[in-house]
Amino acid sequence: MGKLQLYEVFARRQRADRFEHIGCVEAPSSDLGRVYAWQTYDEAKWFEMIVAPRDAFHCVNRAEQPFTLHPSEEALT
């Protein structure tokens, strides 16, 4: 079975908008990640929603992992 992975979710309400980072989901495949994202973050009528595995992101200016809310989270991942 596929390994569970975090997928970061981004969406925009209209074509002219910039993407907002709206959250993340955990899924065993990008297919299920897409489904979970759409069904979890359904609070708006999104023009476009995209997902990407968290480990596809690389921090530019800090030593910690991207999307870290608190330094202590580092120990959890």
Partner: protein
Amino acid sequence: MTEGRKGYAKPADLPDDVRDHLGSLLIVLADNKRLLGMRYSDWLLGAPALEAGIACSAMAQDEWGHGRILYAMLRDFGYEANQLEHEREASEYRAMELLDAPAGEWPDLLALNLLLDTALSVQFEAMAESRFEPVHYKVSKLLDEERFHFEHGRGWVTRLGGTDAGREALRRSFRPVWEACLRWFGPDGDEAGRALYEAGITDRDAAGLRARWLERVGPVVELARLELAELDGGGSGVWLSRVEPSWDGWDPDVRRAARGGPDAEMLARVRGDKNRPLLMD
């Protein structure tokens, strides 16, 4: 809508036999949507992952919404929507027999998700260009929502089918649902299916709908090696079932092979018995 043919704006415009067949089909679809929504809702808590529970919640809401639209549409066919939604006995429901009892295990729910839900979508898709305008205008949004239901089922079946234990569990759960879904479209030459097709209400008859369903679910169950479908060996690209359904007891009016209906607990929930005093309209 079907090119070059007049549309029907309301049921009264339809030929009598077509109106009867379409009204019956809409009740079948509404009941299946309502009860399938209930079965999804049984898994809001207890799904194998938090995200899967949220997905069940979203799919339940979609199904209830679709059911409600259909019950409301049936008013114009001479039915009383309130009676259909809140007053019927179990034996009057026309949902598939698969929905009479809860999906006890997660693979059972996946069978309903991938096979039964897709069967309903195939029936709706056949009305995307329907000459009956009220249905034609509703189908597009409904199918947009259903796309994610299919992808949920496909994602999970692909995942579980990747292990021996998961595949065995899927095989046990999928076999009865597979047979019931094959049967649900009706036998080749089914009278209602043919009448609706010839009137331009649907774009396929029973045999054509079954073929379209096999085209959708066949590749998924084959990838998971569930031994239910195979590609025609002649290279036609047509998907065939490896299983022939039994037609014993098949009743075309209710599109079921077994008498019955939702169990008592489900009947109370689906009719809203607990909140009956609060019903305002």
